[in-house]
């Protein structure tokens, strides 16, 4: 099939199968995350997911045998374009699709692929990731959660923090310590069921009022030994690979502008502009222009970085650092434009946009912390790219 044929077939299929309600902007709470107790808040989101699952298009480039679509890179790009054309919502969100799956495709055994991948594409298992610990934030490799070898199983004890959506997750991919005598070389990568005895989850309330993150406690959790991925004590390399991937994702938050808010320029004109959107105050206007200039340059940089084969850890760190700091700056500029209107917490005296702005501004402060702080990214750039000595 030529790419042109593929495009017209895809277009026709989407036209027929994507329900009208799935072609509208998506509030955060209508995202479909799947899992054993899936929530389909929008009535059409279930059928939309199921139809996409059936074609393997929740994971378009994964092999068909593991539930994927078996598409080439070019075909997958066409699928994305055609979905964007009709503003189709992503049918399924998942740390399995974005993080664990690609990792297993890369380094997993045949058995692991068969066991884990298809359920991910079908949205049957919802995954969370267990990385940070109270004493191991920036110093991730300082993690203390132990996995003791008990012959036929590991016994896991310890505590994770910042586990996104752990309170809704079925399984976790988790960094654990299998050797206490060394630091980086004593870490392993373990998968296990969050419904196992001894797992306890407590959501963390953030300054923005949201609770997407959890503290997760492991008290003598038994994990079968075949659920270890990669080599024993070989988990650090896996962690770094996943982290670079996560950083690239977070760096794009700013470029996307967050999907609950209108684009930055529109927001600025709305709050600081006149009826035509012209910003009369010269200082506010300049603050906005400055950020838009940075946005353009960052956009060009992302394209150039993605375009190049060289997606080294250092470049991911640059994008993560700059993208998140830029997003924070933009939120501060909008807050300056909005004045009192951006300072509402709740209630009818503020409109929805105002309230979302305030919470988004607060939430943006976490961008430069999660996925490795800005300080960690700068360390990485100084070391990996510039070669500055320790």
């Amino acid at each position: 099939m030529t790419l042109e044929d593929f495009r017209s077939e895809t277009r026709a299929w989407l036209e027929e199968n994507c329900p009208p309600g799935m072609r509208t902007p998506m509030p955060d709470d209508e995202r479909v995350w799947g899992g054993k107790n899936p929530v389909f808040k929008h009535p059409e989101s279930k059928v939309w997911m199921e139809r996409m699952v059936e074609r393997g298009w929740t994971a378009p480039q994964w092999p068909r045998e593991y539930g994927g679509g078996g598409l080439s890179r070019a075909e997958a790009a066409i699928l994305t374009e055609e979905m964007n054309r009709i503003s189709a919502r992503p049918p399924l969100f998942s740390f399995g699709l974005g993080m664990l799956g690609p990792l297993l495709l890369d380094i997993g055994t045949q058995a692991e692929k068969e066991r884990y991948l298809a359920p991910i594409t079908r949205g049957e298992i919802r995954w969370c990731q267990g990385y940070s610990e109270p004493g191991a934030g920036s110093d991730l490799a300082g993690l203390q959660t132990r996995a003791e070898d008990k012959g036929d199983h590991y016994l896991v004890n310890g505590q994770k923090v910042w586990t996104s959506y752990a309170h809704h997750a079925d399984w976790i991919f988790c960094l654990v310590r299998t050797d206490t005598s060394v630091k980086h070389a004593g870490i392993s990568f373990l998968l296990f069921d969050m419904h196992s005895p001894g797992v306890e989850v407590r959501p963390i309330k953030l300054i923005s009022g949201a609770s997407a993150f959890c503290e997760t406690f492991f008290d003598n959790v038994k994990v079968p030994k075949d659920q270890l991925v990669g080599e024993v004590n070989g988990g650090w390399a896996i962690a770094k690979q996943l982290l670079a991937h996560e950083r690239a994702m977070i760096s794009q938050l700013g470029a996307r502008g967050g999907n609950r808010l209108p684009p930055f320029k529109d927001m600025a004109r709305r709050y600081a502009g006149d009826a035509n959107g012209r910003i009369a105050d010269p200082l506010l206007r300049d603050l906005v222009a400055r950020q838009l200039i940075n946005d353009r340059a960052f956009e060009s940089t992302s394209k150039r970085a993605i375009g190049s084969a060289d997606a080294a850890a250092g470049v991911a760190s640059m994008l993560k650092y700059y993208g998140t700091e830029q997003n924070k700056r933009k939120m501060e500029v909008i807050m300056k434009c909005a004045g009192y209107a951006g300072l509402g917490w709740e209630g009818e005296e503020f409109d929805d946009n105002d309230l979302v702005l305030c919470r988004s501004w607060l939430r943006s402060k976490g961008n430069s912390i999660e996925g490795g702080t800005s300080e960690v990214q700068l360390n990485v750039i100084a070391k990996r790219i510039l070669g500055l000595p320790d």
Partner: protein
């Protein structure tokens, strides 16, 4: 009177205030008022105690029942209240509304309000702002003369303590265009007149503010303060006092958020060492220290200039509020960032300072407003 306070007097007042807020109104108290969604928004008992110490009457003449210690003294108290994020009628009643009556109220208005304010028995809110950003002379609310006095129509926003005050100090327009300095008049009115609708606004800092709508509100002719159309001349210096006072509160908040953060840098360990031993964080902390010290100098200089009625008082107020805004934006952001994930949790105190910071930054003009006003004042 104000400039007779010695350095020792100020230090004594500072220590007294620090102890008082630390004991009677620590950060936890603010958190509790927030979590119980307290409708008053501050602790009336704490306010009674503050009034007993004379703080409610600190800007009121002794002849009117106050103690008249001046802006520097009030700033000292506000600075300490900023450290514990204590909400009280200090900002609304004491700093913003009452000085208008002190300066320009007639005998009846003074007798009616000043000693009651000084006793902590009366609260007055300044109903002034109409735009989302501070715009002191952009007043569209109209006061139209009729046989019974004036009829008010319009809408006020972000009125501090608007929903709990007993009286409103209303800024309305009796003539001229919506953004002219001329034609503004001031009125002291009751908050419960027919046609007034007051809605509390739930702000990110959990402090009190309200939107107030006026729909054909009839007020008596005797409500007016000062001359018809001459309100800006009374309002402007009072606003400068309010700006300096808020800057003093911000100074305290910045200092406290900074102190909490420096302490965290000393105890939080990563990579086998306290994170405060990492040079990049050290330098950023040292830069914050400098900015706090500059803001401190600017705030004290502005407060002193107000007490001394110095010719460059307005300029120094711009400097103080501008520096306080930049300082507190920097410090509140760095405080969260340096706390890492902890700083993002509701449980950590630094987030409370971040939230209060942005509200205080907007209050009576943000850094953008004050840089432009400063440039205007010095003829740039």
């Amino acid at each position: 009177m104000a400039d007779q306070l010695t350095q020792q007097d100020h230090e004594l007042l500072r220590d007294t205030a620090a102890r008082f807020f630390g004991e009677r109104s620590p950060l936890g108290a603010m958190r509790q008022l927030r979590d119980e969604q307290n409708e008053v928004g501050f602790d009336r008992e704490v306010w009674r105690e503050m009034s007993e110490m004379g703080w409610a009457g600190i800007l009121i003449d002794e002849a009117d029942g106050g103690v008249d210690l001046g802006y520097r003294a009030l700033g000292t108290i506000l600075e300490q209240s900023g450290r514990t994020l204590t909400a009280s009628p200090l900002l609304s009643t004491v700093l913003s509304a009452t000085p208008i009556i002190s300066r320009a109220g007639n005998e009846a208005q003074r007798a009616d309000t000043l000693s009651a304010v000084a006793d902590g028995a009366l609260m007055i809110a300044l109903a002034h702002e109409e735009c989302p950003r501070h715009a002191p002379h952009r007043i569209a609310t109209r006061a139209v003369k009729n046989d019974d006095g004036y009829v008010i129509n319009g809408k006020k926003t972000f009125v501090l303590d608007g929903h709990v005050a007993d009286r409103l100090l209303l800024v309305a327009r009796t003539s001229c265009e919506d953004d002219q300095r001329e034609g503004i008049s001031l009125f002291l009115i009751d908050n419960a007149l027919p046609g007034i609708r007051i809605k509390r606004t739930r702000m990110v800092d959990s402090r009190n503010a309200a939107n107030i709508r006026f729909n054909n509100v009839q007020i008596p002719a005797g409500s007016i303060i000062g001359t018809v159309g001459g309100g800006a001349d009374i309002l402007d210096p009072v606003l400068d006092g309010a700006r300096a006072g808020v800057a003093a509160e911000m100074l305290g908040s910045g200092q406290e958020a900074f102190d909490i953060t420096v302490e965290y840098l000393k105890v939080r360990e990563q990579f086998g060492a306290p994170i405060g031993s990492f040079q990049a964080l050290k330098h950023r902390a040292a830069e914050m220290y400098c900015e706090i010290e500059l803001a401190r100098s600017a705030v004290y200089a502005a407060l002193d200039a107000l007490d001394q009625k110095a010719r460059d008082a307005a300029e120094l107020v711009c400097v103080a509020k501008a520096k306080a805004c930049d300082m507190l934006e920097l410090v509140s952001n760095e405080a969260v960032q340096m706390h890492g994930g902890i700083g993002m949790t509701d449980e950590a105190d630094v987030g409370l300072f971040l939230k209060r910071a942005r509200v205080a930054q907007q209050l009576y003009g943000d850094v953008v407003f004050h840089r432009q006003r400063f440039a205007d004042l010095i003829g740039l």
